[in-house]
C-alpha cells in the first residue's frame, strides 16, 4: 500500500510566534519541479521513510523552529524538497525535489530562496554560479563533515582545494598567509557565494581595498604614492604564497627592474659578481634595503624615492 496510508498524519508547521508568510523560508517552485501540483504532507510523514535524514536535519540550523526564516518554522522538509503528496502517493518513487540530483542552478535557486541576505545576496551571476557550481557542490544538509557551514569536506581548505589546487598548493611555499597555521581561511579574503568586489573578495570594492582591510597601515593615501601600491597589490605580491620574500611574484631586484630601467643603478646587472661583493642592491632584501617605504611615504623631503 502507498505509504500515504501510514499512521503519520500531516503535521502543521511549528508555530513560532509570528505566523509564517509566503516569503523567504518557503520554497519557490522551480520550473519543471518534480513536485508540481502536489500538496504538503508534513515532516512526520517524511520521517516514516526518511528517518536518518530527519534525524540529521534535527540538529542543524534548519531545524530551529523559533526562527521564522527556517524550514522548521515553515514547511519543514518540504520547504526545500517541495510538497510531497505525489511522492507519497507514488510510494516514494519520484515526484520530489532533491537538490543533489537537480540541475545545479535549480538547486541553488532552492537554497537562495532563504539564503538571500548579505552573505549570499550576490550568488546569482557570481563566479561560481557562472560556472554551474551550486550550493550542494560544497555543502551537504544531511551528511556534512565540517564543524562549521555544513561542508562536504572536513575543512574549508579541503573544500576549496577540490577545484583550486594551484592556489592551495601555494600555501606550502616559503612565504604565505597563515592559512596552513589555521589563523586564516580561504573565506577570510573570499566570499565563495559572490561579492561586489572582483575575484570574489569579501571586503571593499577593489583588490587593494580588500588587502588593506587588514593591512590598514598601507592604505594611505600617502603624501608620496607608489603607483603599483595604488593600482593593485597583486602587481607585486601573490597573496596565495610564493617562494620569494614577502610573497613577491618574483625576486627583487628583478621584480623592481621589470618597471625600473632608469639610468644608473636601477638598470645595473646584479649578477653573481655583485652578489659576491655583497652589494646591498641584491643582497638581503635588495631594493627595499634602502627604499624601505616602498608602499608609499609620508616623509616631507625624502618620500619621493620611498627611502624614509
Amino acid at each position: 500500500a502507498p505509504r500515504a496510508a501510514a499512521d503519520a498524519a500531516p503535521a502543521a508547521p511549528v508555530q513560532a510566534g509570528a505566523p509564517p508568510v509566503q516569503a523567504a523560508g518557503t520554497l519557490e517552485p522551480q520550473a519543471g519541479s518534480a513536485t508540481s501540483g502536489a500538496d504538503y504532507v508534513g515532516e512526520a510523514m517524511c520521517a516514516t521513510c526518511h528517518e536518518d535524514e530527519t534525524k540529521s536535519n534535527s540538529t542543524t540550523k534548519h531545524a530551529r523552529a523559533l526562527n521564522p526564516r527556517t524550514p522548521a518554522a515553515n514547511q519543514t522538509c518540504e520547504s526545500c524538497h517541495g510538497p510531497g503528496s505525489k511522492h507519497v502517493e507514488a510510494d516514494g518513487d519520484g515526484f520530489i525535489d532533491n537538490p543533489r540530483t537537480m540541475k545545479p542552478r535549480d538547486a541553488s535557486a532552492t537554497c537562495t530562496t532563504c539564503h538571500n541576505r548579505t552573505e549570499h545576496n550576490q550568488w546569482a551571476g557570481g563566479k561560481h554560479d557562472s560556472r554551474n557550481i551550486s550550493c550542494v557542490t560544497c555543502h551537504s544538509q544531511h551528511s556534512p563533515k565540517s564543524e562549521h557551514a555544513q561542508l562536504k569536506e572536513a575543512t574549508q581548505l579541503e573544500t576549496c582545494a577540490q577545484c583550486h589546487k594551484p592556489q592551495v598548493a601555494k600555501l606550502h611555499r616559503t612565504s604565505h598567509m597563515p592559512v596552513r597555521e589555521g589563523k586564516m581561511e580561504c573565506s577570510s579574503c573570499h566570499n565563495p557565494h559572490g561579492t561586489q568586489n572582483v575575484k570574489m573578495l569579501r571586503e571593499g570594492s577593489s583588490i587593494n581595498e580588500s588587502c588593506t582591510s587588514c593591512h590598514t597601515e598601507k592604505r594611505g593615501p600617502f603624501l608620496w604614492e607608489h603607483a603599483p601600491n595604488r593600482e593593485s597589490c597583486i602587481t607585486c605580491h601573490d597573496p596565495h604564497g610564493s617562494n620569494n620574500e614577502r610573497m613577491l611574484v618574483a625576486k627583487a631586484p628583478m621584480l623592481c627592474q621589470r618597471c625600473h630601467t632608469h639610468s644608473r643603478h636601477p638598470a645595473t646587472i646584479y649578477d653573481n659578481t655583485q652578489l659576491l661583493n655583497r652589494s646591498n642592491r641584491i643582497a638581503g632584501r635588495s631594493c627595499v634595503n634602502c627604499h624601505a617605504q616602498i608602499h608609499g611615504s609620508n616623509h616631507p623631503t625624502s618620500g619621493k624615492a620611498f627611502i624614509r
Binding site: T118, N121, N132, E181, Q196, S205, A227, M254, H265
Partner: protein, 704 residues
Amino acid sequence: QQPPPPPSPPPAGATPQVDLGVVRQQGRVDAGFRASSVAGDQARFNRFQDLREGPFLSGIRAERETKRWFFLGEAHNVGYRDQRFMGAAESIGRFKVRFEWDQIPLFISGDTRSLQQDLGNGVLGVDDGIQQAIQARTLTLADAMASAVPFDMRSRRHVAAFDMTYMAARDVDLRLRVKSTGRAGRHLQSFALANSPGGFTQELGIPIDDRTTDVRMGVEWANARGLLSAGIDASWFTNHIPTVQFDNPQRFTDISAGASKGLAVMWPSNSLVSLVAAGAYKLPARTRATANISIGRATQNEPLAAPTSNTALVAPTLMRGTAEAAADVVSMVYGLNSRPAERLWLNARYRYYDYANKTQHYEATRVIGDWTVAGGTAENEPLSVRRHTLDLDSSFSASRFAVLGAGYTREAAARSFRIFEDTTEDIFRVTADSTGNAFVTARLKYEIADRKGSGFDGHLLEEVSEQPDMRHFDVANRRRTRATGSVTVTPVAWINLSGSIADGRDDYADTGFGLRDNRNRSYGIGVDLMPMDTVMMGLSYLREKYTANQYSRTSNPGAQFLDPNRDWWIDSTDRVETVVASLDLLRMFPNTDIRLAYDVSDGDATYVYGLRPTQTVFTGAASLQQLPRLSNRLTGGRADVQYFLRQDVAVGVVYRFEDYAVRDFALDADTVTPLAAGTSTIYTGYMYRPYTAHTAWLRLTYLW
C-alpha cells in the same frame, strides 16, 4: 501546485507549541603535553604559530542548543602566543552575538642582533661610546658588532571582534560589528645612511605599536522578493609610533655628508569611512537585479616630520605642516541575472570604481635620507584611478549537468600620473562545465584578452631618466591568453580520479624595456579512494612552471643611454612540484582512528641574464657571472593515532615532522653575514635558513 495554507496564529497569550528542551549538548577538549625539537630556524617554523614544548590545552569546543538558545565556546592553544578564544550566543529567532579574541604571532627571526637599543617612543640608539670610537677610528664597525645585542624580531596581532545581529522583524536585521586589532612588536626594515643611497644601510628592528578599529553597522530588509540594506563601514588606523629615530653607528656628530641620526616616517594614521547600500529585486522570468553602492572618503592628515634629523644640513622649509592627503572612493555594482528559458542563463554586471585622490599639491626640496640636500624639487603625484567594467556572460545547458558558456568583459580605466592616461581591455571567454553529475565533473575555460593604452605621456618617463620605450607592465599593451581545465572521474563510488591543466601567457609586444613576456603552465593528477567505510586515501601531484622575460639597459645619462650594446635581459623560470598524500583508517582497528598525511612542495628558480654578442657592459677581464639557482623544499608529515578508551575518552599521540631546505643567494648565511659586511650594510642576521622540526603531542581527549 497550491501555496501552503497559512497556519493559524496561536491565540494571544498562548504558549508556543514548541518543545523547548535540549537539542544538542556536546563538546570536546584536548589536553596533554607537547614535545618539540627544532633544529635550525625556529622562527620560520613558528612564524604564525606557537608550538613550543609544554603542557597544552586546545581544541576546546562546547556547544549547547535548546529550541530557544544556542551557545558555543571555543579555545585553542590556551596560554600560547597564538591562542584564540571565541564565544557565541543566539536567542533563536531574535538575536545572535559573537565575540572572538585571536592572537596571531609573526615571528620573523630569533637570531637577530643589533647595536641599536630600543629607548622607547620610537627611538633606537647606539651606545655613544661606540659611535665616538668608530668616528675617531679607534674602533672598527666590525669589532663594534661584537657588542650587538640579540633580540627577537617578532610582533603579534591581538584581534578582538564583536558581532551582533538583531532580528528586529521577520524580514529585518540590524547588524553591528566592532573589530579592534592591535599590533605590537618589532618589524624588519632597513634604512640607508652616509653619503649615497647605496653607501651604507642598516637593518633595524623597527618598533611597532598600532591599532586598527573597524566599525560596521547597518540595517537589512530582505524577503523572497528582494533586499534593501544600508549602513556605514568605518576603519581607523592609528600608529602610536609615527616616526622612528635611529643612530648612525659610525658617526656621533653630524656633518653635512653624514648624519649621526636618521629619522624615518612610519605608516601614517589614516581612516576610511564609507556609506554603503545594497538592493536586490526579483523580476519575472527568474530574473534578479542587484545594486551595490559605496561612497567613502579616505583621509590621512598626519603632521609632517622634520625635513631631516641632520643638524649640519640646512633644512628646507616645508610647504605645509600636515599631509592633507585624502581620496574620495565611489564604487557601484549593478547586476542583472536571468534564466529566461530552461536552458539559458544570462548575466550582466556593470562595475564602477573611482579612487579620486584629493591630496593637495606638494612640492619639496629633496633631502636624500638624512645625508644630503639633493637640490631641485620634487612634486607629489596623487594617483587616481577610475574603472568602468562591463561583464556580459551567457551559458546554455547542453544537458542536465553540462553547460556551455561564453562571456565578454570590457574594462576601461582612466588614471592620473601613469604613462597611459587610459587603458581599455577586451576579454573574451568560453567555458564548458559539467557539475552535479555522479560520474564526471569537468571544468574548461579559455580566455583571450587584449589591453590597449592611450594618451601616452612620455614626459613621465623622461623626468625620471627612464628609457622611452619602457612600459610599466600593469598598464602596458598586453595580449593575454589563458586556458584551464580540470576533470574528475568517478567510475565507481569509491574512486575519484582527477586531472587538471592550465596554460597562460601574457605578451607585451609593444614593450621595449620592462616585462615583455610572462607564462605559466601547470598540470596535476590525483586519486582519492574509499574502498571501505573505514579507509580513505588520497594522492595528488601538481607541477607548475612560471617563466618570464624582461629587458633592460645598463646606462648612465649620455651616449650610453641610447646604446643597444648595453642591453641585457633576464629569462626567469620558477618550477614547483607539490605532492600531497593522506591515509585515514577510522575504526578499521577496534576503537582506533589513524590519520596519516604527507606533503612536499619542492621548488627551484633561476634568473638567467642574457647579453648581445656585441655587448659593451662588461669589458676587460670582467664578464657576466650568472646567479646561482634558488631552491625551496618544504616537507611535512603527520601521524595522528587516537584510541578510544570509552566512547567519550580517548588517548592519542600526534607526531608532526617538518623539514625546510632552502638555498637563496640573497638571503643565505654566505651573503648576509657577517653582520657588518664592510661598511655597506649592517644586517640584523635575518636570513633564509633551513630547519627540521619534530613535534609530538601526547593527548587526552574528552568528549561530551
